[in-house]
């Protein structure tokens, strides 16, 4: 376990068989690593394969081809008790919708004790103690242990989802849009919690989201997927400041002033009939005949950065890197005396 990374995917492929002898290649040769204690953001449009990648990494889905290493061990084909001890105890998932990923008939305390019970950790008293500790740590009132999920707010439910993922003290958490169903003010609380837990426990996150401001905020590195492939991977700040792949440039431009946006035409192509060349060529403003015919491989374009484009860095961004100006606080004055007298009078 001396490696720098906690998990590593190499050449992952996932095919789904459709009717009529056709296959859908949802993931097409994806390689990346998640380093210890880092957040790797995974972004891409719906249908780009990011959720399938995450599900393969955590072994909820068996890869058609490729290899997954986790904590220094090849887990691609593990089964049974080996899978349970090497993977299930050390990786966990936080789901998008806390309302559907929690059993409505299970009290919060039981939800949290279940992972311990399944993996036979401690006795009942020990488990109870751990549940109480964990609730404290994720900012849930321990009195909620006896409540059912529907008695909690959305933010509290997502705290339960996070606490459940942490019960077995994993080293990697896969979070699939964990704040997408939450309001902005509640989202901020959950994001802060995730970052605190990361600092305290040295957790690594694979964080899937379509919220660009959020992924930029909390990722150390970002992998951008398009139609089943990683088109660019690198440090978050550099990716947004100076994107190498035109699709990344399109995404990064959404964080800039409206006049500097690059809005592509058309839609993501179908993964059933993959175009032979670059998958983005049909929407790319730079595309040439070469892009249409020849798929560009993912190559190193700078220190720690890789991109799959024949013309990396050529689609430049205009304008300032969108950093939403922090609004000035509203000027507040003391309520006028009339109001105070009114209050006293009433």
């Amino acid at each position: 376990m001396s490696e720098q990374y906690v998990a590593r995917a190499e050449g992952l492929v996932k095919e789904f068989r459709l009717g009529g002898g056709r296959t859908l290649r949802a993931v097409d040769g994806v390689s990346f690593e998640v380093r210890r204690g880092e957040t790797l953001g995974l972004v891409g449009e719906s249908g780009s394969g990011k959720t399938t990648v995450a599900r393969m990494l955590i072994r909820l889905e068996k890869p058609t081809a490729g290899r997954i290493d986790f904590e220094g061990r090849d887990i691609t084909a593990l089964r049974g008790s080996a899978l349970r001890t090497a993977v299930r105890r050390r990786m966990a998932m936080v789901f998008q919708n806390p309302s559907t990923s929690l059993n409505p008939y299970q009290r919060v305390g039981d939800v949290l004790a279940e992972p311990l019970r399944v993996h036979k950790v401690g006795d009942a008293a020990e488990r109870h103690r751990r549940v109480m500790e964990m609730m404290e740590q994720v900012g849930l009132d321990p009195a909620f242990a006896g409540r059912y999920p529907q008695e909690l707010s959305g933010g509290q439910r997502q705290r339960v989802g996070i606490a459940r993922a942490l019960m077995l003290d994993p080293s990697l958490i896969v979070a699939d849009e964990p704040t997408a169903s939450l309001d902005v003010s509640v989202q901020a609380q959950v994001v802060n919690l995730l970052q605190e837990l990361q600092r305290q426990r040295g957790l690594a996150y694979l964080f899937i989201t379509h919220d660009l401001a959020l992924v930029r905020h909390l990722s150390h590195r970002i992998a951008v997927m398009y139609l089943g492939r990683v088109v660019e991977i690198g440090p978050a700040a550099e990716l947004f400041a100076d994107p190498a792949h035109p699709y990344t440039a399109v995404l990064a431009s959404m964080q800039r002033d409206p006049e500097h946006r690059i809005v592509p035409t058309g839609d993501i192509p179908s993964p059933v009939d993959r175009p032979p060349g670059c998958a983005f060529s049909s929407r790319c403003p730079l595309a040439t005949a070469r892009c249409v015919e020849q798929a560009p491989p993912l190559v190193t374009v700078a220190e720690g950065r890789q991109a799959a484009c024949h013309f990396p860095g050529e689609l430049r961004l205009g304008g300032e890197l969108g950093h939403r100006a922090v609004p000035a606080p509203p000027p507040l004055t003391l309520p006028d005396s009339e109001l105070l007298t009114l209050k006293k009078g009433g």
């Binding site: 509640v186 401001a213 700040a237 995404l251 609004p327």
Partner: protein, 349 residues
């Protein structure tokens, strides 16, 4: 509450109803239940001028979607609506059912969040567009309606519209479905388009395309657009004016850029401050502790008092009305600079 107050609160609408696409005045939506009434909208007042894009912004439960549903009288049976709603110059609350149907088919159209659920899965796209056009204008012949439908599909950027007319909704992508839903609204020739979170179900690039389309339609057709959203990016990109709602009340309103740069209500400020985009990467996000009051709760003072960073003792007992605080802007906060003197006391609920 006194008449004088009403006038100041709704100053932007004083030009008269003819120039406004929508005037909501002291609208109150209550849903009686066994456990007591749910106050979903608590005296909301705002106007949408003709040709204007107004965003109703707020978190879930703030009443933004309900305001749209109330304007079209599409609330669930049993919901009680008080106040006055003038849509396209007509009194929605006093209107007979038949007129209401015509208004909804022709003058004021609604686009939902999820385009898949707005389209009939078993009917061809062309047939749905033709039906929409002919419901709005029964004098159209089938052929005329088809030509109009094709024109509108072209207008919203659907490639090969003639062959798309023969497709079923499951054969088109999410972004295209939302364009088709917008085309379905446009064939009726509406003057107001209501959009309830129109891009929430879509990808970032598709969202950018749809927002661009809405802006073009607003400019070219003079369409008034009312959009309910929680997404700051959508608001920044699209809206001329912003109406911020909280717990069923309008807490702040004004031109978008001004409100975003210099909010006057502590809630607006707290909300803007909690967005990840206004922080340095990795920095701890500002949060708003607690959560909004539920619709079943009876409020004594300001709805935001329990979470407000600058709360004063009076805020808990005196209800702030929206007042003009700057030219073209209003806020409902007793403490904000420019807020006029108080003439009313406790909340009349």
């Amino acid at each position: 509450m006194s008449e004088g107050l009403l006038e100041t609160a709704s100053a932007p609408s004083s030009k008269g109803a003819r120039e406004d696409a929508l005037v909501m005045r002291d609208v109150r939506v209550t849903l009686p239940t066994g456990k007591g009434p749910l106050r979903i909208i608590r005296d909301a007042t705002f106007t949408v001028a003709k040709g204007e894009i107004v965003a109703l912004a707020g978190e879930s439960g703030s009443g933004k979607s309900t305001s749209i549903m109330a304007a079209l009288r599409l609330l669930p049976a049993g919901a009680q609506v008080e106040g006055s709603i003038i849509l396209d110059g007509q009194d929605v609350l006093a209107m007979p059912k038949r007129h209401l149907r015509h208004l909804r088919a022709k003058r004021a159209r609604l686009v939902f969040q999820d385009p898949w659920r707005s389209l009939h899965p078993m009917k061809r796209i062309g047939a749905q567009l033709v039906e929409s056009a002919r419901t709005a204008d029964p004098s159209l012949s089938r052929d005329e309606a088809r030509r109009l439908a094709e024109q509108m599909l072209t207008r919203v950027g659907i490639p090969e519209p003639a062959s798309r007319m023969n497709s079923y909704p499951h054969e088109v992508s999410g972004g295209q479905s939302q364009r088709i839903v917008i085309a379905m609204a446009l064939v009726a020739g509406p003057s107001v388009l209501f959009c309830d979170e129109p891009t929430t179900a879509l990808d970032v690039t598709t969202q950018a395309q749809i927002l661009e389309l809405l802006r073009e339609l607003n400019r070219e057709l003079g369409l008034s657009i009312v959009i309910a959203t929680h997404d700051l990016d959508v608001i920044t990109d699209l809206a001329d004016r912003l109406v911020v709602m909280y717990a069923g009340e309008v807490v702040e309103a004004g031109p978008t850029a001004e409100v975003l740069a210099r909010p006057r209500h502590p809630y607006t400020w707290s909300l803007l401050r909690s967005a990840p985009g206004s922080h340095r990467p990795g920095e701890r996000l500002h949060t708003i502790e607690g959560r909004p009051p539920g619709p079943g709760e009876k409020l004594t003072g300001c709805a935001f008092a329990a979470r407000c960073p600058s709360v004063h003792e009076v805020c808990r007992s005196v209800r702030p009305e929206p007042r003009p605080v700057l030219p073209g802007r209003s806020a409902a906060c007793l403490l904000t600079e420019g807020y006029g003197p108080i003439t009313t006391g406790a909340r009349d609920e």
